[in-house]
Symmetry: D2
Subunit: 340 residues, 4 copies
């Protein structure tokens, strides 16, 4: 951490800062420029978390020089992590395709979709049982029944399964039925839920918040990891900008940027990001090309009748075509792909 003083900073105000830092058991290194004095802090800066140096007289700004996240930081874990979920592995050698409906509607529907996506090449099944909807008057999900159908679908197809959770009760239920839980964008900074997910021990897919920075996202992962659960996959799903042609703005630069900051696997959800079915295939290809470790794709047997997010869902034949078209892109990356 570096403290930058204002141009007119007096000797007294500089000394006040250095003494405050020393009172926390740290050392300082003062560097006097022609206009500006800067004070380097030597030692463990977490001791200064509550020092509020910003409000000392004549302090211009505080510049952090190390990141606040540790367990997820690539600096302390330079090799990319691999993570097994059921019979699927997230990591640098494979391409995971998660597919399924936005919301589980009936057992029959889910089985029909599970069989279809498996046949086309998906290796994991998604299906929402607890739906975080903007309006309380929209369909909220089948809850535990939905989870139960997911378990049946797994038994019938062998696909690993993932469901979003939105409460401690949902986590407790999910533990019984699915292989992986998802923390959605709206809950990325629901720190209570992150801790509960950490305690559950289940692998967690952590989606990026609607307007979360990469640093906040990695700190959210840190909440889960600090509970002893290191089984985390990050999922880019678009951020909020002024653009209205797509539901969100898919930030694919986040993929290489995350790869330079963390060892955790990173996947991409082009369906939620764009909200437009026709943009899913080109952006799925782009995700693979820029280094994503997997994809999450919405598929529905009858999008026109889907209870949630129909406009961005692919039909069975569209998903089948997607898998076929993605295969050569996956091959270029040298990853394994169950797709075709």
């Amino acid at each position: 951490m570096i403290v930058v003083m204002k141009p007119q900073a007096s000797e007294e105000s500089i000394q006040a800062v250095t003494e405050a830092i020393k009172s926390y058991g740290l050392e300082t290194h003062v560097s006097q420029g022609r206009q500006i004095t800067i004070i380097g802090v030597v030692g463990d800066k977490t001791k200064l978390a509550n020092a509020n140096l910003e409000i000392f007289e004549n302090v211009q700004k505080i510049v952090p020089v190390t990141e606040s996240y540790k367990l997820s930081n690539i600096v302390f874990h330079p090799e990319p992590s691999s993570l097994s979920v059921g019979n699927v592995t997230f990591g640098p050698d494979s391409m995971v395709i998660i597919a399924g409906p936005c919301a589980v509607e009936t057992e029959e529907q889910l089985l029909r979709i599970a069989k279809a996506v498996k046949k086309s090449g998906a290796n994991m099944l998604r299906g929402g049982a607890y739906k975080p909807r903007t309006s309380p008057y929209s369909f909220q999900g089948l809850e535990e029944d939905g989870l139960r159908y997911m378990k049946t679908a797994k038994e019938e197809t062998g696909l690993s399964t993932i469901c979003e959770v939105i409460s401690p009760d949902a986590i407790n239920a999910a533990v019984k039925y699915v292989d992986m839980i998802q923390i959605g964008a709206r809950n990325m900074q629901n720190f209570f839920l992150l801790k509960e997910a950490g305690k559950s021990g289940l692998p967690v897919l952590l989606k990026r918040g609607l307007s979360a920075t990469l640093e906040e996202w990695l700190n959210a992962a840190e909440y889960i990891m600090a509970e002893g659960n290191e089984n985390i996959v990050l999922c880019e799903r678009g951020i909020r900008t002024f653009e209205t042609a797509t539901r969100n703005t898919l930030d694919l630069s986040a993929v290489p940027a995350l790869k330079s900051k963390t060892h955790l696997p990173v996947i991409v959800d082009p369906s939620h990001a764009t909200g437009v079915r026709n943009y899913v295939l080109p952006l799925a290809k782009a995700s693979i090309a820029c280094g994503a470790d997997g994809l999450m794709i919405e598929v529905h047997d009858n999008p026109a009748k889907a209870l949630s997010d129909g406009p961005q869902s692919l039909t069975f034949s569209q998903f089948d075509e997607l898998c076929r078209e993605l295969a050569p892109y996956v091959n270029l990356t040298g990853r394994s792909f169950h797709g075709v």
Copy 2:
């Protein structure tokens, strides 16, 4: 709801849409332009929530013409609401000043601050017992102990009290100790927590999400109200933009815009919005001038030692000066003010 068809839409595709709408028990009104055909939907559009008309062939877009929120909508409740919390009233005739520390640190500190802010003119005490912090390694709050100190502070000063809650457990505890609960920005779309807050029956201060639209915000209020709890105050606290000179961008246009959309009271938190102590007073004045029903201000007895958000906290003398300087602005609005 209006369905706009693409220029080349065939008779069949138009009919497919009108028949789908009718299958949900609604009527249509087709309007044929020179280039474009539009289909108006007559009846209760909530029946169409899952119709996914967007993906019918040749549909260009769906235009909603009524808002999805109802209980909070000014259309169905044209008079501004008033809401009593302890001995304080939020509404068009009064100016509520909520003040206190970001986080409760010790009982003595809280009492000291409560007495000081009361003396200067605050009529409600804030103090965080459960702190949603970006990093798991930052101070997380005193939890139930903090709530207990809030109750003591209320008993000693007569100030009404408010605390943020971040979990069902926190709500259950808060019911025993404080007058009002706060749902913070990061939990604005934690729909599970909103429902729990609704069931608690306690008055709720609902802060705007980091990047929430007014419509999403009012829908979040709707989640609470749909549980039968109509005691809600909205709090603008800045939104996320590209600007880095302030922590967030305070959106004061949200005040008159909300007043045109909802009957719920609206207050402003200039402390969290800017993150800079010197900007709090001018923006507090501006908030009053543009129609806010109250303010939330951070005050600390020793900001340099605050465990959370010191840089934006006012000292006792700064808060006293703030109340004095605000008084004539409140007077211009014709509202009552316990301030001076």
Copy 3:
């Protein structure tokens, strides 16, 4: 300027940076932390403008410690500037009300509006002769004829005048007819136009770009000032965010933030910022309350027939009421106000 090295930085890579800095005639001050080494640069950092230290081996980041703008910087000019334009003064002691139509349409219309706004209390007349419109098929302005009508309006009412310019030709024409030129949001980083405006010697109202940071805005002012023209007023007009309830998001925190960074006067345009007539009055009051030195308000004799931006224009009686309602707020600031 501070260079922060990566944790694993070798002696050689640190030395490579210090030698590069010294090769530009500057001195360094190396501070070795437990994990991190930082290198302070002593001397005139502009010499390093092209050193690209970011790409030296093991450099983590470069932290600027002084702003890049100088002539507009409050550090070098601690007193707020005052600026006379015709018979109006922008500065800390007065409140300037600029009013008029978005676009000049006819001479009669302009005269009618000029007389009305003067009577209500405006002291400066706005009116666009060159309109930057999103679509080439929208009304583009009367050009030099519009400027000529502005001059007539000035002669008949005594109001000082301001017009937007969008090209060197427009500047050359404006010099002959009006007291002040405006650089609009879309041209804030049209550096060629900024230089031409600087050379013209005319006072310049510089609007904030659609998504400009305060630092970029002050650097744009610097382009004008570097040509020897220090007669600049800044105008906040809203920034682009995800919110759609208002056309832009008025950033009133920019007013106190600018006052802490620059000596230039700052005014606010609530008409363009919101695009909604009913929000203009509350935000005009708020602008005054938070320290603005003036306001720019759109007024039209028949908003329903305005050729540009009718929805946000006030009628004569609305503008008259606005001036009456603003007067007590101006009085509280101790500024002079010709308004009422």
Copy 4:
């Protein structure tokens, strides 16, 4: 265009709107819902450009149903355009690689870079002679000398050439020396410059504005096309968001979204978008994978000494590797590639 009336709209206010519309020579189609009345407008809506229907009594909102851009609109030109520039073709069958330095520094440097990028596979040379820089104290470009060196580079290598222009003088000079001009992000809504570029007849590369919507961007293209110059290529270069890990947020969803709205070719500039050299290759692959018609890449012989944007520039060997790694991705798209 559809006019949506407020729920309480009286017969009179509905009639006032329909009569206003008819007074412009258009027909209306009134559709009475249970709560809401909507008025469809039949005929050429451009006649209503100045009708300001928004401010009629009881009008809730105006919903446009057709886009304001025409010449660039895919509706009226369903086949993708092809555009020849020198010996290069932009269009659906080829992949154009534009490479070169951010700024032209010396003739020798430019020739060295031109030869290197040609050898690796570039088919067009970029090099800035007029640099729009945030600060007036940064290097502003060699101006006409820079253009002259571009011509020499073309003569020596056969590469087609492109230069950014920022003023009418720059356009007049560019016509003499280069094959294509570029309008940069900061000038995307410099409508005066767009018109001048249109009149020049030269092919134009139009970069997306810092925070421009796709609709504004296509309207900017429309300004050029309305002057009779249809030789336009669009270039996505990142938009401004809250994220700070990259300089801008590259919006790759803009590629398929534009392809659904316009027939103009679309290329991507990953160098300016990210500002980080290591992210250029993965995002270049992604751009190709999602349908881009070309790439613009910064290359410098000695990035550490570049006068502009060194940190994101590739070295010769990095660019050579990039071309090799891109080749198989281009092959998958079926486009021709001079790259390897």
